[in-house]
Amino acid sequence: MANNRTIVIDPVTRIEGHSKITLHLDDKGEVVDARFHVTQFRGFEKLCEGRPFSEMPSLMARICGICPVSHLIASAKACDALLAVRIPPAADKLRRIFNMAQIVQSHALSVFHLSSPDLVLGMDADPAKSNLWGVFEKDPQLARDGIRLRQFGQQIIERLGGKRIHPAWVVPGGVSEPLSQADRDAILYSIPEALQIAVRTISWFKQVTGSFREEIAAFGNFPSLFLGTVKEDGSIAFYDGKLRIGDATATLVADGLSPARYFDYLGEKVESWSYLKSAYYKPKGYPDGMYRVGPLARLNVADRCGTERADQELAEFKELQRAAILSSFHYHQARLIELLYCIERMEQLLTDPEILSKHVRAVAEPNAQEGVGASEAPRGTLFHHYKIDDHGLVRWANLIIATGQNNLAMNRSVLQVARHFVRGDKLEPGMLNRVEAVIRTYDPCLSCSTHAAGQMALRVQLVAPSGEIVDEVARP
């Protein structure tokens, strides 16, 4: 007789957004299936309908308070396409800096505030201590570094955009205000300390990875496609460029794809058990078209970063595996390398005299009825696609968000980790924390796609066919 045993982890904690995980076990207590459910839906593709297109950047930024700048930028780029304008060069550079400042703050949040408890205190740590404050007790410098790096990114956003969260500075056609010399100088002044912290964190991280060999082997360690944006010379791009898709053997499957034609090659599938749709690469079909986006994918497909220290780190990183780097555990290190790159690159852009130009906005009426804007958000490639009517009101919108593009891989990863670590006959909280920790490597942003707050305890029961409870663990 079939034995119905299910483990539910609800909510998944220390991620950005609301989700739960169910693990299905067979009668031997082996995990046979796993699902990552995203449990809230917000409806932005509909609620924008009928509103003026010029409102879109500020409205769409409210999709996510962690990466509002990514949505501002992708949305403003879609609006630029509606205006059919070329934005002034200074505005282009300012938007790039803005985007990178946000990558720094968001990557810092992921590494320090959310994942460092697993790395510093261990996967089996007491859940009551597994948080930033627990890290502070064990390694105060590391916790302070995390807070400082996130603050560094947020302060740049504030200097450019006027406030840290939901600035309205990025507008269709450019940005609303030029950068003042005083603000430029203040940002430049803060860069050496941030660089120092980034370098210190990378060397710390490389030391601790040694204790996670088993996790590296089982945390989403499988072949998949990887998608990211690159510049014309093949170096990493965050603001603009062409899409590149590579496979596990590091062979390019597609290159030079125009983000504006995403619908030709990216599809989305609905799963009845999650509000998060699963994106796939259409030519390979579903589910073989599974691909990953975000730091690991970007570094897998890019030939180089283009700044000195980040390129040194990237060269070392690429040594980890002969072809593409497959384990999602390595998202963490990839995230730190990107963070370093962004700090170096911001410095270059800020020392370009053009950055102080007063000409930062192109003004026009809409010249097209449809526009796509894409950029690299902290978690991966982001697409905003709008259609407007003759009055400039939005009639239809489609958003493809990074986290949805990692959905198939996250589900596969949860299954892999659960199969490796979870033994149905002897449950321990550390086993289940690893199932959550693999999700954290992807740094999913579920407020982007959805989200909420949990209400159930993490309670796992093993129920025998007779209905008798064989084992139970609960976590407060």
Binding site: D10, P11, T13, I15, G17, H18, K20, T22, H37, V38, T39, Q40, F41, R42, E45, K46, L47, R62, C64, G65, I66, P68, L109, H113, P127, A128, S130, N131, L132, W133, R144, I147, R148, Q151, Q154, R164, I165, H166, G267, E268, K269, V270, E271, S272, W273, S274, K277, K282, Y286, N398, N433, S447, H451, A452, A453, G454, Q455, L458, R475, P476
Partner: protein, 177 residues
């Protein structure tokens, strides 16, 4: 003096209010000296505990799960703070209210889909007909508008409440701040 117990809860919001809380930066560490964060997306507690002194709630009440959650939070909290415009007025989540939930679901799960169109319905909470402010469902003790309220505002409000005083919210923030 026993340490205070504080919690943060996230309903239908963008997490921006939580991020603004994190923007208090180093003060996160001093706050830990006077209060324990007993429940939050930032810590690993899976169940909302009893006897919480101050709870900050971000977001509107938009799904069945939000509703269940806010009722439980209310029962277990002494001072409930409606944090940010979404919690106070339904703000952005409320923009779906002119549309039927059916239309909102159809756009995302039928129209903008390549495979298997259909509205997810297994183990995911259903949307309520409208997204509404928290105080329409439970009693709110302190309202802190702003989208999001600034980090300084949040720190001020939290420090005052943890010290047992009533914060003068109006002089620190406003709608849309």
């Amino acid at each position: 003096m026993a340490k205070k117990r504080m919690a943060t809860v996230w309903l239908d919001g963008c997490s921006g209010c939580h991020m603004s809380f994190l923007d208090i930066d180093e003060r996160l560490l001093t706050l830990a000296e006077i209060a324990d964060l007993v429940y939050s997306p930032l810590v690993d507690a899976k169940v909302f505990p009893e006897n919480v002194d101050v709870t900050l709630v971000e977001g509107a009440v938009s799904s069945e799960e939000d509703l269940h959650k806010i009722q439980m939070v209310r029962e277990r909290t002494t001072v409930l703070v409606s944090l940010g415009d979404c919690a106070v007025t339904a703000n952005v989540p409320g923009m779906r209210n002119p549309f039927s939930t059916k239309a909102v679901y159809e756009r995302a799960y039928r129209e903008n889909v390549t495979l298997n169109p259909g509205v997810p319905n297994e183990g995911v909470p259903r949307l309520l007909p409208q997204a509404r402010p928290i105080h329409e469902f439970v009693t709110v003790d302190v309202f802190v508008p702003g989208c999001p309220p600034s980090a300084d505002t949040i720190f001020y409000v939290v420090s005052e409440l943890l010290a047992g005083r009533t914060p003068q919210v109006g002089s620190h923030t406003r709608f849309g701040a």
